[in-house]
Subunit: 191 residues, 2 copies
Amino acid sequence: MELLFSNIQRHISLSEEDKHIISSFWTIKRLNRGEHLLSAGSVCRYDAFVLEGSLKGYITDADTGREEIVFLAVADWWASDLESFHTQHASSLNITAITPATVALISLPAFNELLEKLPKLEKYFRIILQYHVTALLRRIYYRNAHDAKSRYKTFLQQYPALQEQIPQYLIASYLGISAEMLSKIRAQKDL
Amino acid sequence: MELLFSNIQRHISLSEEDKHIISSFWTIKRLNRGEHLLSAGSVCRYDAFVLEGSLKGYITDADTGREEIVFLAVADWWASDLESFHTQHASSLNITAITPATVALISLPAFNELLEKLPKLEKYFRIILQYHVTALLRRIYYRNAHDAKSRYKTFLQQYPALQEQIPQYLIASYLGISAEMLSKIRAQKDL
DNA sequence: GAAAAATCTTGAACTGGTTCAAGAAATGGT
DNA sequence: ACCATTTCTTGAACCAGTTCAAGATTTTTC
């Protein structure tokens, strides 16, 4: 929970009282390796903040059964289907623990109530969403403008922490590369 | 300006007084075809809401000079480099009018002052950013999981309006396809 | 409304990356 | 510690999409 406070405090200030209020709206959940936080077809009931471990968000192709990684999340990141969470419509996304993980969860009613009690959190969520949008636009740009090797190099620079926590074949999918190709890229000397 | 009000009112309610306050913070600017709203290397001074016409956001490759489209924007959309706008650091993005365009502009100091005067706008911006994140994640998923033809078909369904306003070769770049390939896809009967 | 510029089309050669396959190495569960 | 499972590697055949080139068409400008 401290991790969430420090994340929030990077953008707005919190009193002890504020922290107390915030705490009361969240529940902590542990996930086993492979356990689902959200399954395609069901509604995203909780917005999740990752405290420990790593998760993947992915879409399973109905025909081929292939998993396509949409996002990866480790400690200090958010992991949920915002659209499904806010509309409470069925999600097409799966979210699963890659390693054993601990997440902080908040339901939509609790989320709305929390924002009413602590309106300054609106600003916090606005700001982190701004960063998120920027990061996603950059990801799209790299996907379209750079080849596989250069995308991987950029990824390693940008998220050195992920390299150890996430299997290669999931990183490959995240980058829009086949697992085999990424293996061959890594075999090259001049990374 | 009415377009901006109605955009905001899709998410929160505004009194006439609110509208009056909002109006006072924005300035209207007309752009000629090809005119820059933002040039790579300079700071994004304004957050822009498109009232008329169409704009492109793109990155020019330093070596090849190729333009890579990052986003397209038409009436009722936003067009700016959020990161550069909020940090006031140099942007790597160009934003240019594809057709003659009218935009509503707000500077960062004005933006912050507006949010202080009308805190409920925090919620509006949070909500539209949520939609934006969702749309960008979907775009990434399609880019990675689907071939060129299927991406184009999905694009036509999702943004039928853009087809008429934006040259094909820019749509191709937006989708991560070469202009020639898109032309060949369009020549196929079974779209 | 003519000239210039921008956009679109088509074909041929090529290539970055995929798919398939099968074995090697690492990791997890009990 | 062992076995089962997951993850990673490597090579060969293949292909979706790119690049290059050159002409056709449309749109803009003056």
